[in-house]
Amino acid sequence: MRALVLAEHDNRSLKPATHAAVTAALALGGSADVLVAGAGAAAAAEAAAKIAGVGRVLLADDPAHAEALAEPLADLLVGLAAEYDALLAPATACGKNAMPRVAALLDVQQISEIVAVVDADTFVRPIYAGNALATVRSSDAKKVITVRTTAFEKAAETGAAPVEAIAAAAPCDAARFLERRVVESVRPELTAARVVVAGGRGIGSDGAFALVSQLADLLGGAVGASRAAVDAGFIPNDAQVGQTGKIVAPDLYIAVGISGAIQHIAGMKDSKVIVAINKDGEAPIFQVADYGLVADVFEAVPALIDSLSA
C-alpha cells in the first residue's frame, strides 16, 4: 500500500492540515509520500520532509502550479497515480477543488471528508450535516480520499525525508488566475486555533462584531461566524463555520448570538468545551453547550472582556 498526500501550503509555508492528512494516509497501513505543487515552494517542501513517517517529498516547482489551479494540479496527480494505491488531500478549499477531478480522470469514486480509517478499503464519513456517520467500503482498486483534518492527529515533525524535484503539468489557458483577496489577520488560523470566538446574527451589526474580535484577541483565538453573520456582511466568508463552511474543533468554542442551527453545529460540535451566550434560553445552541449563559451580548461580552483583562 503506497499513498500520496497532496500538501496544503501557500508557497511560503506548509499548513498543518497536511500533517493530519499524512496521519490518515499512514492509517491505510503502508507508506506515505507528500506532493508539494507550487512555485517557489522549496521551503514548504523542506517542511513537509520533516513530517514523521513520510517516505519522500515530491516537489513540482513551476509557475503552472503557483496558484493551485485545479486543472494542472489534477493532471499532475493523475500523472503520478500509477505508482500509488491511494491519493489523499486535506478537505480544504484546495483539496475539495482538485481531488474530485483526479478521481474522475482515474474513474474512481472519491471518498469525501473521511473521519476514520477502518481498513484500507473502508472509511467513516459524516453525511446529512453530521447527523449520521456512514461507514462505506470502496470497490475501486485505487482510492481517492479527502480528509477531515480535525478528525486526525497531526503527525509529528521528527522526520527527514528526501525531497525530489519532479516535472510540472502543462498550464491550462482555459482557466486563468486573476487575483486573490486574502483576509489579512494576525490571529491564528480558524481551523488550527486553540480558541474560537464565533458571532452570529444576534450581534446585530458589523460595528458590534468588534466585541467578538476583542474577546478573541484577549484569548489568543480566531474569529468564526455563522452563515447569517457572513450573509449580513458582519465578517468575510472565510470565517463561516458549519456544514458548508469550515470545520473546527478547538479546545474552547464560544458561540455568541448564534441560535445553533444543525448546519452550524455540524462545524463545531467536536470542540472540547463549548460556551454559548444567547438571550434566548430556548436556543438550540444550549443543547450542545457545556456552559450556557442566557444574557444579552451587549452586557455579557463587555463584562467577560473586563473580567478577563483584569
Binding site: I127, L133, T135, V136, R176, F177, L178, D231
Partner: protein, 250 residues
C-alpha cells in the same frame, strides 16, 4: 449562451433525519423533500443571466426517481425553459451522476453547466469537479459572483479558505455555486401554473449508455456521539470561574 443546471431532490434542510434502527441507512420515507439549496442558487443564477440577455436558454436536469419531476418543475417555475429527467430508482453516486451529466451535456451542448457545490444529503462536494474533468472543461467552484468579460470569457469569484479568488474561464465551463452568489426567488403561483406546460423529457441511464453501478457499499449508518447539554451559569463571573477552574481552558 446556453446553460444547463443540475438539480438534486434532497431531504429539506429544515428536516431532522432518522437513522434506521438496524443501521442499514437513513430513513427518508415521508420526509419533506426539496431542491438542494445550492441548486436553487444555481437555477437562480442561470435565470438571472437569461433575464439580462446573457443566456439564451436554461435547461434543468435531474437524476432520480419519478418524484424528481417535482424538483424539475420547481426549476421551471423559477424560470428555466425545459427540463430533463434521467430516471432511475437506483442509488446514483457522484461519479455516475457526473457521467450522466456528461452525456446530457453532449446532447444539449451548453456553454456553461452550473451545479451546487454540495448536495446537503451526501455532503460529497464532488460532482461539478468530476463533470468538468470528464468533459475536459475548466471549472470555477464555490463561486460567489460571475461576470461576462472580453473574448467571451467569464470572470468568477470563488470562496476559498483565506478569502476570495477571481478566475477567468473560457466557456464551455463548469461552475458550482456557493451561498453568497444570490438569493433564490420563490416561484409565483402564475409561474408554477405555467411551469406545468413547459417541456419535460425523460430518459433512462441505459439510453445514455452510462453504467451507474455504485463503487461504494454502505456498510452501516450510525448516530454520531451526542453532546450532552451542560450547565446554565448564573453570571459572567461564574462562567469565567468554571472555565478557569473546572474546564481549565483559560
Amino acid at each position: 449562451m446556453k446553460v444547463l443546471v443540475a438539480v438534486k431532490r434532497v431531504v429539506d434542510y429544515n428536516v431532522k433525519i432518522r437513522i434506521k434502527p438496524d443501521g442499514s441507512g437513513v430513513d427518508t420515507a415521508n420526509l419533506k423533500m426539496s431542491m438542494n439549496p445550492f441548486d436553487e442558487i444555481a437555477v437562480e443564477e442561470a435565470v438571472r443571466w437569461k433575464e439580462k440577455g446573457l443566456a439564451t436558454e436554461v435547461v434543468v436536469v435531474s437524476i432520480g426517481p419519478q418524484a424528481a419531476q417535482d424538483t424539475l418543475r420547481t426549476g421551471l417555475a423559477m424560470g428555466a425553459d425545459r427540463a430533463l429527467l434521467i430516471k432511475t430508482d437506483a442509488e446514483v453516486q457522484p461519479l455516475a451522476v457526473a457521467k450522466l451529466l456528461k452525456a446530457a451535456a453532449e446532447r444539449e451542448k451548453p456553454d456553461v453547466v452550473i451545479l451546487g457545490k454540495q448536495a446537503i444529503d451526501d455532503d460529497s462536494n464532488q460532482t461539478g469537479q468530476m463533470l468538468a474533468a470528464l468533459l475536459g472543461w475548466p471549472q470555477g467552484t464555490f463561486i460567489s459572483a460571475t461576470e461576462k468579460t472580453g473574448e467571451g470569457r467569464l470572470s468568477v469569484v470563488r470562496e476559498i479558505d483565506g478569502g476570495l479568488e477571481t478566475l477567468s474561464l473560457a466557456p464551455p465551463c463548469v461552475l458550482t455555486t456557493d451561498l453568497r452568489l444570490n438569493e433564490p426567488r420563490y416561484a409565483s403561483l402564475p409561474n408554477i401554473m405555467k411551469a406545468k406546460k413547459k417541456p419535460l423529457d425523460t430518459v433512462a441511464p441505459e439510453e445514455l449508455g452510462v453504467d451507474i453501478a455504485p463503487r461504494l457499499t454502505l456498510v452501516k449508518v450510525e448516530e454520531p456521539p451526542r453532546r450532552k447539554a451542560g450547565v446554565i451559569v448564573g453570571s459572567v463571573g461564574e462562567l469565567v470561574d468554571r472555565l478557569k477552574n473546572e474546564a481549565k481552558v483559560l
